[in-house]
Structures are given as C-alpha cells and as structure tokens.
C-alpha cells in the first residue's frame, strides 16, 4: 500500500468516524440537542429555526454531494445555494432580532 493511499484512507476514516460518532451520539441523546428548534426566551417551537435547519441540511447535503463527485478541486457552489442559505439565515436572525426588540419594548411598557 502506498503511503499517500494510506494517509488518504486514514484521514477519511477519521473524518467520517468523527462525523458518524457525533451523529450517533446526537441520535442517542448523549450530545444534547434538546431545544435546538425552540425559541430560547419563550421555550416554544420556532418555525424560523425549523426552516433554517431544513435549508442548512439541504445546502450541506447538496454541497457534499457536489464536492465528492467533482474532479479537480472543490466545486464552486451554485449562486442559488448561497442565496438560499443566506436568505434562510437572514430570516432566522431577523426573527431573533424582532423577538428581542418586542421583548425589550414590552419590558419598557411594564
């Protein structure tokens, strides 16, 4: 076995093993993910977080597929992918800012 081939296999094993371990530990509840879709302040389910999670997972999955099948360097992600991720995160942050302002305004009224 060539040393480059060995290093390639070992590094891929490491990254996939690490990702797999983290994913399994999350699924088993050993890494806490409780509350990831809930609003921190109110504790209720947040649609902004849900859409952001879905778009993030879709973007990451699409890009991973592109980068594995692409030959000759990392592929440039399509503009639509960047736009979708940016818009989704902007929506999530916008909802967060709005909730913070609303709370501050309500606190002042009280």
């Amino acid at each position: 076995m060539d040393i480059v081939q060995f290093l390639r296999v070992s590094l891929l094993l490491f990254i996939s093993g690490l990702a797999g371990t983290v994913a399994i530990l999350m699924l088993f509840g050993r890494i806490r993910i409780a509350g990831v879709l809930r609003d921190k302040r109110t504790g209720v389910f947040s649609p902004a977080r849900l859409q952001s999670t879905v778009v993030t997972l879709a973007t990451a999955g699409t890009y991973l597929g592109l980068s594995i099948t692409h030959d000759g360097g990392l592929p440039d992600p399509p503009g639509e992918l960047i736009g979708a991720l940016g818009g989704s995160h902007a929506l999530y942050l916008g909802a967060k800012v709005l909730a913070a302002w609303r709370t501050r305004f309500t606190d002042k009224l009280i």
Binding site: M1, I3, V4, F6, L7, R8, S10, L11, L12, L13, F14, I15, S16, G17, L18, A19, T21, V22, L25, F28, G29, R30, I31, R32, I33, A34, V36, R38, D39, K40, R41, T42, G43, R49, S52, T53, T56, L57, T59, A60, Y63, S67, I68, H70, G73, L74, P75, D76, P77, L81, I82, L85, H89, Y92, L93, K96, V97, A100, T103, R104
Partner: protein, 164 residues
C-alpha cells in the same frame, strides 16, 4: 519486554511490505520514518474517536471513563440548552472539511497542486460563521443567554433527574 517491542516492530515492517530481514540493503530509513509518522497519526485519530465514545456515550455520569472526551455539551450554551447556531456551524465544518480532504487526496493522486478554496465556499462558511456571531451578539445585547425561557428545556440526559 524488549523482545516484544522487536517482534512488534518486525510485524509492523512486514505489514508495510518492507521485510527488513530479507534485504537490509534495501531498507530505507526515510521510508520507515514516513510510515512511522503515518501510523502514529492514524493511531492518534482512532484514539481520539475512541475516547470521545468512551467519554460521551455511557448513560450514567458515574459510568463515564475518566479520561474520555465528553462532548455532551458540544452544541450547548452555558445554560445547557442546545444552540441552533452552533449546530449549523458544526454541520458546515464537517461538510467543507471532508470535501476538501477528498479533493486534496484526489489532487495528490494525479500529482496536481493542492486545490484552492473557491469564493463560493468561503461565502458559505462566511454565512454560517457570520450567522453564529450575529446570533451571539443579539443574545449578548438582550441578555437572552440567561432568559427564563431557557429553563423550559431541561439540560439532562435521558434517565437523569433534572435538578434546577
């Protein structure tokens, strides 16, 4: 004990196809050093994953291996609740890192230079990281990290009793 190490070294060298006892003249110390470093790196990587599993997986706190790496709060805030920003940042780190490693080794195979990172990928990482930073900024400015709502998400493992 010394004999065991000599046998172990011979086994490793045989596995690498160097077969030192057949032809000592062909034995290359540089090759040996490269392989030793590669094997050390591999052992370190596997040990890292193994210790993460030992330190995080057991159900009860007492069952955890004391030297294990506990990733229980990998994406948690200081109050114990999971953070969406950290979660998405983690996903992008894994995706870009694995894609880059695959591309680097593809390039090495064809003797091409180490590939560049395109601007689009930097934009993706920037959006992900920027979202994390802005989110933390909003929380800091509003004192959201210590909000009462965070207490509604119990920070316990399954099977543990929640103690506020």
């Amino acid at each position: 004990m010394k004999t065991v190490w000599i046998y172990a070294a011979l086994i490793v060298l045989t596995m690498l196809g160097l077969e030192p006892w057949k032809n000592w003249a062909a034995f290359d110390p540089g090759d040996f050093m490269q392989w030793s470093l590669a094997l050390f790196l591999f052992a370190l990587e596997m040990a890292f994953i193994f210790f993460i599993w030992l330190g995080t997986h057991p159900r009860q706190q007492n069952d955890r291996f004391p030297l294990g790496i506990n990733l229980e709060k990998l994406i948690s805030e200081s109050d114990g609740a999971a953070s969406f920003s950290r979660f998405q940042f983690l996903i992008f780190t894994f995706v870009v890192a694995s894609g880059y490693v695959v591309q680097v080794f593809m390039a090495l195979k064809s003797s091409a230079p180490v590939p560049d990172i395109p601007n689009g990928v930097l934009a993706l990482i920037g959006i992900s990281g920027g979202s994390y930073v802005v989110s933390k900024g909003i929380e800091k400015s509003t004192g959201d990290g210590n909000a009462t709502g965070s207490q509604t998400t119990p920070s316990t493992l399954p099977g543990e009793v929640y103690k506020p």
